[in-house]
């Protein structure tokens, strides 16, 4: 087919000109793909951060505000001074029966209760000789999560990976067994089989766990039933039948808003937080990158894309200007204008498609290769009870859809450029071409 022969020859022999146009288009399309891939990477990073806090699979959390301590009761302050105690964090208490109620809601796939607690350990009397006379003992604190053993797939423990020992089983409900975070275990020289004292009760470490993103994990995980039994709160000697967080999985991502609505209706006083709400509260370089990607990146992409299209159009028109004699001759030979326009547009489209793929893929791969480390800081009001700084690597994966986007954008830009070039060629008359040849 002569069309293809002509196309191939033009692209091969006018390589430099084609490259200039292609680079212009490729930069525009490549930037859009990079921003798209980076935004996707940031979204994945955010999901990783949220998973480290709430566990993979948790879509909604339910908490409630802490009750005002009754006059004369100890509240948080009272048990904080007790040796080897377990106390509730900033969140208020919910009835464990709410878990069952929520699990029966229409758009809920599963629900689990949990406790985010703080263990306080004071040095024993025996070590007092080492302290200066009259000095108060310095308490050490560690975070404890009460894990709902019936729903290990929900909550912060869901994303923990056992590196040694074993995880919980349903038969551990009433046992004094614990899974310890790997970093905490290293710091406290704990191994599988070691003992750890929580609220004056000895627990056996049966597993060491490592969280995928590290920072959001508790130091110690114990069965929820044991956490409830050992925790003191205000004038309650135990919190059996109470929890402070409910982790909920929706039947699908699109059902999350409905789940939010249903729980809010069921528990009007509760604070219902979706993963989207939490994402908006995450700060740090991850949040900055997300903001940059969605705001600056988007507008920068549009601006560069428009500039790239404009430059490509001008270059294509200039190229047609240099080929006036050629196109005029073809018209004199009886070529129709639409055939010449098709030839110009095909040249542009091939240039755009090749460079769209090459530069789009290349730019995003560069971000992927560099993989800058971003951090996310989550405010203390969330489930962990502590401010968590989580480090994640930004991976701008080039998906098939991103490559398709690059190709579509580059071809669109090339066709626009080709249209301008074709429009100029179509306006040529064979006689005009001959006049310019004089």
């Amino acid at each position: 087919m002569f069309f293809l022969t002509y196309l191939r020859r033009e692209l091969r022999h006018r390589m430099r000109q084609a490259l200039i146009i292609a680079i212009g288009l490729g930069v525009g399309a490549g930037l859009v793909v990079t921003v798209t891939a980076a935004t996707s990477g940031i979204s994945n990073a955010q999901a990783a951060v949220l998973h480290s806090l709430y566990g993979i699979g948790t879509d909604v959390t339910v908490t409630t505000a802490a009750a005002v301590p009754k006059s004369g009761s100890g509240g948080l302050g009272s048990n904080a001074q007790q040796e080897n105690s377990l106390s509730v964090g900033d969140a208020g208490l919910l009835n464990a029966s709410s878990v069952t109620s929520i699990s029966h809601l229409r758009d809920v796939a599963a629900a689990a209760g949990g406790f985010t607690l703080t263990g306080i350990s004071l040095p024993s009397q025996g070590s007092g000789a080492e302290r200066p006379a009259g000095a108060f003992p310095i308490p050490t604190t560690f975070s404890v999560d009460g894990v709902d053993l019936a729903h290990l797939g929900l909550g912060p423990f869901a994303s923990a990976k056992i590196s040694s020992g074993r995880s919980f089983t349903a038969s551990d409900t009433g046992s004094n067994v614990a899974v310890v975070d790997a970093n905490y275990a290293t710091a406290k020289r704990l191994t599988v089989g070691s003992s750890i004292t929580i609220a004056s009760t000895r627990f056996t470490v049966m597993g060491i766990a490592r969280q995928a993103q590290g920072g959001g994990s508790a130091n110690v995980y114990i069965p929820l039933g044991r956490a409830q039994a050992l925790t003191q709160y205000q004038d309650l000697s135990s919190l059996t039948g109470r929890i402070d967080t409910i982790y909920v999985a929706a039947t699908s991502a699109s059902d999350i808003p409905a789940v939010h609505k249903e729980i809010s209706k069921l528990l009007p006083a509760a604070t219902v937080t979706t993963s989207g709400d939490l994402a908006s509260e995450v700060s740090g370089s991850l949040a900055t990158a997300a903001s940059l990607a969605s705001d600056l990146g988007k507008w920068l992409s549009i601006a560069v894309l428009i500039a790239a299209f404009a430059v490509a159009s001008l270059l294509t028109m200039a190229a047609v200007g240099r080929r006036v004699r050629e196109f005029g001759t073809l018209k004199a030979l009886g070529w129709r204008s639409r055939r010449i326009i098709a030839q110009i547009m095909a040249e542009s489209a091939v240039i755009g498609a090749i460079m769209g793929i090459a530069l789009g893929f290349g730019a995003a791969s560069l971000v992927d290769a560099i993989a800058p480390k971003l951090t996310a800081t989550v405010p203390p009001s969330f489930a962990s009870g502590n401010t968590n700084t989580v480090g994640v690597h930004l991976a701008a994966h080039v998906s098939v859809s991103a490559i398709l986007l690059a190709v579509v954008l580059a071809i669109a830009g090339a066709l626009i450029a080709g249209l301008f070039g074709g429009w100029r060629a179509a306006r040529l008359r064979p006689a005009d071409a001959m006049v310019q040849m004089q």
Binding site: M1, F2, T5, Y6, R9, E10, R12, H13, R14, R325, E326, G328, T329, L330, K331, A332, L333, G334, W335, R336, R339, R429, P430, A431, M434, V435, M437, Q438
Partner: protein, 229 residues
């Protein structure tokens, strides 16, 4: 073949109107070789454009094989150029990225001739001008004379009724000029073409059956070639 009646062509240049052709009358017979001479700006190229269906007159009629080109829509003018008229240009006007044989093929593309047949006809046309061994060469790899031979092959490959040549030897040295003119004359005789050739060169014009001299937008035929100077 051609009958031009009171053909006028005006161009607007700013506030001025340039009269390129002013009431030109001309008849050209089938198989005739007409040479046109004249000073620069006398309207030679404009006349060639009218004959070649490349432009329309501002007034008057350009009848070609019984059809008035002035009244034909653009699509039909394109068909006339594609099927019936061959052009030879002073600057050869070959597509620089296409080989010699592909350049010849460009003249057959609008006629929708199948690729194999198109290639065979182009190869024969190149053979007719003695360039079979240069078929795969790019224009930049050919001499001026060889490029003009390719241009002539491109003009004749579609077997047109008319061959319009605008200063075909204007960019060639004397030896090559004579070589090209001998080739054109031979092909004119063999193909029974109507040949209209614009030239400044009196020695070339002398070879024609008839010489016309353009002056102030009008053609004076039957004149002696020397009148052009």
């Amino acid at each position: 073949m051609y009958t031009l009646s009171d053909v006028t062509k005006n161009y607007r240049k700013g506030d001025y109107t340039v009269v390129a052709l002013g009431g030109l009358d001309l008849s050209i017979e089938d198989g005739e070789w007409l040479a046109i001479q004249g000073r620069t700006g006398s309207g030679k190229t404009t006349l060639l454009q009218m004959l070649g269906a490349m432009d329309r007159p501002s007034a008057g009629a350009v009848r070609f094989s019984g059809r008035d080109l002035a009244g034909l829509p653009e699509a039909e003018l394109t068909e006339v150029r594609a099927a019936s008229i061959g052009f030879v240009f002073q600057t050869f006007n070959l597509i620089p990225t296409l080989s010699a044989i592909e350049n010849v093929e460009t003249a057959l593309v609008p006629l929708r001739i199948p690729a194999a047949k198109r290639r065979a006809r182009a190869a024969q046309a190149l053979a007719d001008v003695g360039l079979s061994d240069r078929a795969q060469h790019l224009p930049s790899e050919l001499s001026g004379g060889q490029q003009q031979r390719v241009g002539i092959a491109r003009a004749l490959v579609k077997e047109p009724k008319v061959l319009l040549a605008d200063e075909p030897t204007g960019n060639l040295d004397v030896d090559t000029r004579d070589e090209i003119m001998s080739l054109l004359e031979k092909l004119w005789r063999e193909h029974g073409l109507t040949l209209v050739l614009v030239t400044h060169d009196t020695s070339i014009a002398e070879r024609a059956q008839r010489v016309g001299v353009m002056k102030d937008g009008r053609l004076f035929t039957g004149a002696e070639p020397d009148d052009a100077s």
